[in-house]
């Protein structure tokens, strides 16, 4: 049983790790964020399997902390995309354009032109 649980943990981990390819591919920043989201859930599953395999009840506590905090980073991601940005020329803009709405996908060098001569 222990071997099966370990193998299942390794399988789930390897599977969700394949999803990390999304970080490379994009195309939008929000697509990239989906991969850590999946990794968080997969990591929790792998942890409870590992914990059961090694009969170590504290691993479930680690999984609990991971589950609490992993969702958190995703919230921070979406929320962070809506921050007022500091403009290199004019100082901070305190209100993001309302109609642009939450569009976390920024093209790499759209917002400003190069400051360098």
């Amino acid at each position: 049983m222990t071997t099966f649980l370990l193998a299942a943990a390794a399988f789930i981990l390897a599977t969700v790790a394949l999803g990390l390819w999304r970080i490379l591919r994009g195309p939008k920043d929000v697509d990239r964020m989906l991969a850590p989201q999946l990794l968080g859930t997969g990591g929790v599953a792998a942890l409870v399997l590992l914990g059961e395999a090694s009969r170590e009840s504290a691993v479930a506590d680690v999984a609990m902390v991971l589950a609490l905090l992993a969702a958190f980073a995703s919230v921070a991601f979406v929320v962070g995309a809506l921050r007022p940005q500091v403009d290199p020329k004019r100082g901070p803009q305190l209100n993001p354009e309302p109609d642009k709405g939450p569009a976390p996908d920024r093209t790499p060098d759209a917002p400003t032109q190069d400051d360098n001569p």
């Binding site: 299942a8 969700v16 989906l34 989201q37 859930t41 589950a67 919230v75 709405g101």
Partner: protein
């Protein structure tokens, strides 16, 4: 009895693993963000749920089992809310019917 429980665990954990695989394939193959989000939710809810269900047959009652169930409920809650949140951030502007994802006006 032991054997039956072990078989139950193996079946459930394997099924859970399959859902994780399905979620990953969906994440990699589906054409746009919202469908990928859908694939993800499957792994979140069913994959982790089945793994937890399978492990219930192995873990110690009642403390370990309660902890596992609480873990799954927590993942369900945060997974659902985050999916909603990410979804609201990417859906096209003309789908919006209310100000759920519009800018906040009251300065809260």
């Amino acid at each position: 009895m032991r054997l039956a429980l072990d078989i139950f665990t193996i079946v459930m954990v394997s099924l859970g693993g399959l859902f994780f695989l399905a979620g990953t394939v969906g994440l990699l193959r589906f054409p746009d963000t919202l469908t990928r989000l859908h694939a993800l939710t499957e792994a979140d809810n069913l994959g982790l749920g089945l793994v937890v269900l399978g492990l219930l047959a192995q873990t110690s009652w009642p403390l370990g089992a309660l902890k596992l169930i609480a873990l799954w409920l927590l993942a369900l809650l945060s997974g659902a809310v985050v999916a909603q949140f990410l979804g609201a951030a990417v859906r096209p502007a003309d789908w919006r019917t209310d100000d759920v994802s519009g800018p906040r006006e009251d300065g809260r």
